[in-house]
Each structure stands twice: as structure tokens, then as C-alpha cells.
């Protein structure tokens, strides 16, 4: 195979591959979990949870929330421009984020936080 052919093949694979990944990204939704079902197996994957805020801690640049559903509770870290003022104790939220392990505790780094209407 000469270099020109190899270049064409690589270009086609790269472009079609990247478009396919973007389409996959568009259709793939994070899986919904009850908090008690989140284990180390989910570390580094994006998941969705629903629950009530039971405590908040406001630190420079981040907001640390403890979120509880009817099974258990977990810490959610909100790094960016979420509606921080509206995130108060007792508010029901839906969160999408990546599960991480920090000092041997599982927590969720929030990518999206939606306030649920029932709160």
C-alpha cells in the first residue's frame, strides 16, 4: 500500500469514526441509578440520579451537596455555573454526572443539575 492510499484510508476512518462517535454521544443517555446501587464499578462513567438535597456546603468555586433518595445518600460536587442560589436544603433535583472516588468515598461530579417541579 502506498502512502497516498494509506492517507486516504486514515482520513476516511477518522472522519466517519468521529461523526459516528458524535452520533453515539447524541443518542446515548446516562443510565439512571438509585444511590444504593452506585458502586466502584460505576467510577468514571456518567450516571443519572434523583434525590433531595439534605445539606449544602459553599466553598470558593464549588458547591458540595449531600443528596438523598429513598435508598441512600451521596455527595454531589457542582463545579460550575449551576443555579447555586436555588440549590437549598429540601429541594428535589435530578443530576447527571461522573462517578469518582475521593478519599475512598464515592461522589458525583455534576455535569447537569435540574431542579424538579415537585420540590
Amino acid at each position: 500500500m502506498d502512502k497516498a492510499n494509506l492517507l486516504n484510508i486514515c482520513l476516511i476512518i477518522s472522519i466517519i469514526g468521529i461523526i459516528s462517535l458524535l452520533l453515539l454521544l447524541e443518542v446515548s443517555q446516562p443510565e439512571y441509578y438509585q444511590i444504593k446501587d452506585i458502586t466502584k464499578k460505576q467510577v468514571d462513567t456518567q450516571i443519572k440520579i434523583e434525590g433531595k438535597i439534605i445539606s449544602t456546603k459553599d466553598l470558593p468555586g464549588i458547591l458540595i451537596l449531600d443528596v438523598k433518595d429513598n435508598s441512600s445518600k451521596i455527595t454531589v460536587i457542582a463545579f460550575k455555573d449551576f443555579p447555586i442560589k436555588e440549590l437549598k436544603n429540601g429541594i428535589s433535583i435530578e443530576t447527571i454526572g461522573k462517578v469518582t472516588e475521593y478519599q475512598r468515598q464515592l461522589e458525583i461530579i455534576a455535569d447537569e443539575i435540574k431542579i424538579k417541579n415537585d420540590s
Binding site: 486514515c10 477518522s14 472522519i15 468521529i18 462517535l21 458524535l22 443517555q29
Partner: protein, 400 residues
């Protein structure tokens, strides 16, 4: 405790040999495996020892990755720029000398950086909050600067930067993909280069062992330029050794292959040391292995940081002599080993690791990023533009 830390350094150096000599097996992968095993390991050893192990491995890696880069033409992302001058010397039978130039650069850079740590700490502490707001704009300017530095193929450089960037955005946001950086970076900077070396089937001439010839003034210029450029790039997200090297070379009109190799060796190690300093001063992890250290240690105390610096110095001295010994062995073996078979074996190993840790989607990402990683070699444009896979997502994260 001291004995435990020293053993951790020795084991770290041993694993640094494996990651440094094996293109495609990155320190991040071993650090991640150490982290996965940490609940078990922490029953017997302290978090500090695991961190020191990772530091020793990382430093040794920055010395030894010059060997596959120069002898096999298979660099990792940080050594991508050293291939051409290193290979030029290899084809003159001076492979050993080329490797030793990078090792000398790394060792001198370690000493120089450790000396200026008392200056770097306040500089980063004060400077980072001032520029934090402007990070996306600095990254945009840095990317434009690096693309325009390409002499002829600016359009290709931009195309590869953008394509890598979109790939990075897709891969880093896929909800079901575990360890997304593993297939992404292994494909762009590891398996793609191994594939090209299978394709090109180069023959290496017999090697002679010649001591590196050093011009003291030129060496001092390269080390100081490397320290300044690495300090600027090392604590910004997305920028690494390849970008620092281009920045460091900007003031010089002409460089010899010898001084270029000293600079590359120096920068590779300084960027790693700066990432240790960044985690202590601004609590930001700027490399995969440092992310693992921060997860294991939580917050760092001043005495932890001093132990890290001592471990860095000891590892650098051990790594220097390891590089010397191993490059002597490589010089003798290089004409005898069937490199094609070796490259194929490493491709199979990396693919298996990706399948095990990132699953089938990880394999697809590895396949796509390998194809993309081959393009710069074919069109003759710098591989550093593929760092767009991290730079573009970081820019968007800050801007959106």
C-alpha cells in the same frame, strides 16, 4: 518509614523502566492500576509510599522514553518531537549519544528546577489566580501560535488540531466509556506510531558508543529556556512537553540536533516536576499520574511535598544511570531484534489493555484515534497538534 519510601522509589524506577521502554504503556495506566489496588495496598503501606512510587515511576519514565523514541522511532506524546533529530543521529550510528544527550538534559533540568522551587512556588501561587480567568484565551493563542509555527502545512496543522479536538470532545463526554484518555492517547501517540514503523520497515546501521559532546554555554541556554517554557506550559491544562519545546525553541534561530535533544530531555522532566509543584501550590492535577496522587493523598502537607522533591531527585539520579546502562544494551541489540515483530506484539498488548479497561467502545476509540494519529506522519506535520484532543475540550469547558 524511610526504608518503605526508598523501596517505593526502587519499585517505581522499575515500573518506570517498563513504561518508558514500552511505547503505548503509559505511566497513567500503571498509576491507575496502583490506584485500583490501593484499598488492598493501603493495608500494608502508607498513601505517601504509593505516591512516591508513582513519582519515581513518572520521573524514570521521562528519562527512559527517549530509548524507544530514538532507537525504535516510537515516541510517546511527550517525546514526539525528538524522533527526527534522534533518528538522524541513530542513522549515523550515534544512537547511544542521542539518548545520553536527552538523559543529561533531564538530569540537569531536575537539579535546576529543584533549585528554583522556592521561586516557582510563590510565582505559581500568585500568578495562577491572576491568569485563571484568561486560561481559554491563553490556550486559543497558544494553539494559534503552534499552528502558525508550522512552516508549510498550516492548513493541515489546523485540520488535525480541530479533528483531534472534536474527537476529544466526543470521547470525553461518552457516558458509558471508562478511562476515556487511555484509548484516546494510546491511539493518537502510541499505536499509530507503532503502525507506521510496521509500514515503513526501516533498517538500523551498527551503532558505535561515543560520549556526548557538550557545549556548556549551549547546554545552559537550552536548560534555562526549557525551565521558562515548561513553567509556563506545565501548569496550564492541555499544554505539555511538546508545546513547551516549541515555545522554548522560539528565541533560537538555529539549533543543532545535540542541543535540541538536551532541550527535549530537559522539558520532558521539568513538565513532570512542575505538575508535582502545581498539585501542592494550586491544588490542580496537570497529569494523569498526579490526578492519582491527589486522589490517594487527599490534601498535601509541606512535608509531603518535600518528600516528593527528595524522591524526584533520587529517582532522577537512578534513572540517569538506568538510561546509560539500557542505552548501551539497546545499541548492541538494535540491529539483532526484529522490530516489526516487537511493534506488533506491543500493538496487541495495548489493544488488550484497552479492551479490558475501556471495553468495546474503548476499542473503537483506539481504532479511530490510531487512524487519526497516522495522518501527521504521512503529511509531515507535527504530532503536537493532536493535543487539540485535550486543548479544545478544555477551551470549551471554560468558555461555555
Amino acid at each position: 518509614m524511610i526504608l518503605e519510601l526508598f523501596i517505593a522509589i526502587l519499585i517505581g524506577c522499575f515500573f518506570g523502566i517498563i513504561t518508558g521502554l514500552t511505547p503505548g504503556i503509559h505511566i497513567n495506566l500503571v498509576a491507575l492500576l496502583a490506584f485500583s489496588a490501593s484499598p488492598f495496598l493501603l493495608q500494608f503501606i502508607s498513601p505517601l509510599s504509593i505516591s512516591v512510587f508513582i513519582i519515581a515511576m513518572s520521573i524514570t519514565h521521562t528519562f527512559l522514553d527517549a530509548l524507544p523514541s530514538i532507537f525504535l522511532g516510537a515516541p510517546d506524546a511527550d517525546q514526539a518531537l525528538s524522533v527526527l533529530p534522534g533518528h538522524r543521529l541513530l542513522h549515523q550510528g550515534r544512537g547511544y549519544e542521542a539518548v545520553m544527550l536527552t538523559a543529561i538534559g533531564s538530569l540537569l533540568a531536575t537539579i535546576a528546577t529543584l533549585i528554583i522551587v522556592p521561586i516557582l512556588i510563590p510565582l505559581i501561587k500568585i500568578g495562577y489566580p491572576l491568569i485563571q480567568k484568561y486560561i481559554p484565551y491563553i490556550l486559543i493563542l497558544a494553539s494559534i501560535f503552534l499552528i502558525t509555527k508550522e512552516k508549510k502545512l498550516k492548513a493541515w496543522a489546523l485540520f488535525i488540531f480541530l479533528l483531534s479536538g472534536v474527537l476529544g470532545i466526543a470521547v470525553l463526554n461518552l457516558p458509558t466509556l471508562k478511562q476515556p484518555l487511555l484509548p484516546l492517547l494510546s491511539g493518537l501517540f502510541g499505536t499509530s506510531i507503532l503502525f507506521m514503523s510496521l509500514f515503513e520497515k526501516t533498517k538500523i546501521p551498527p551503532q558505535t558508543i561515543t560520549a556526548p559532546r557538550l557545549d556548556k554555554k549551549e547546554t545552559a541556554k537550552m536548560i534555562s529556556s526549557g525551565v521558562v517554557a515548561s513553567s509556563l506550559c506545565g501548569f496550564l491544562p492541555g499544554l505539555g512537553s511538546a508545546q513547551a519545546a516549541i515555545l522554548a525553541l522560539t528565541p533560537f534561530k538555529k539549533t543543532t540536533p545535540e542541543s535540541f535533544l538536551i532541550l527535549i530531555g530537559a522539558i520532558n522532566t521539568i513538565v513532570m516536576i512542575i505538575s508535582f509543584i502545581a498539585i501542592y501550590t494550586i491544588d490542580k492535577a496537570r497529569s494523569g499520574s498526579v490526578v492519582i496522587i491527589s486522589k490517594i493523598m487527599g490534601s498535601l502537607t509541606f512535608s509531603d511535598f518535600i518528600i516528593f522533591l527528595i524522591a524526584t531527585l533520587i529517582s532522577a539520579v537512578i534513572a540517569f544511570y538506568l538510561t546509560k546502562g539500557l542505552s548501551l544494551i539497546f545499541s548492541k541489540l538494535i540491529t539483532k531484534v526484529n522490530y516489526q515483530k516487537l511493534a506488533l506484539a506491543i500493538i496487541i498488548l495495548v489493544t488488550s489493555v484497552v479492551l479490558a479497561l475501556s471495553g468495546p467502545i474503548g476499542f473503537i476509540v483506539l481504532f479511530i484515534s490510531t487512524a487519526l494519529g497516522i495522518i501527521p506522519s504521512l503529511v509531515g506535520v507535527g504530532k503536537n497538534h493532536m493535543m487539540g484532543c485535550l486543548i479544545l475540550p478544555v477551551i470549551l469547558y471554560f468558555l461555555l
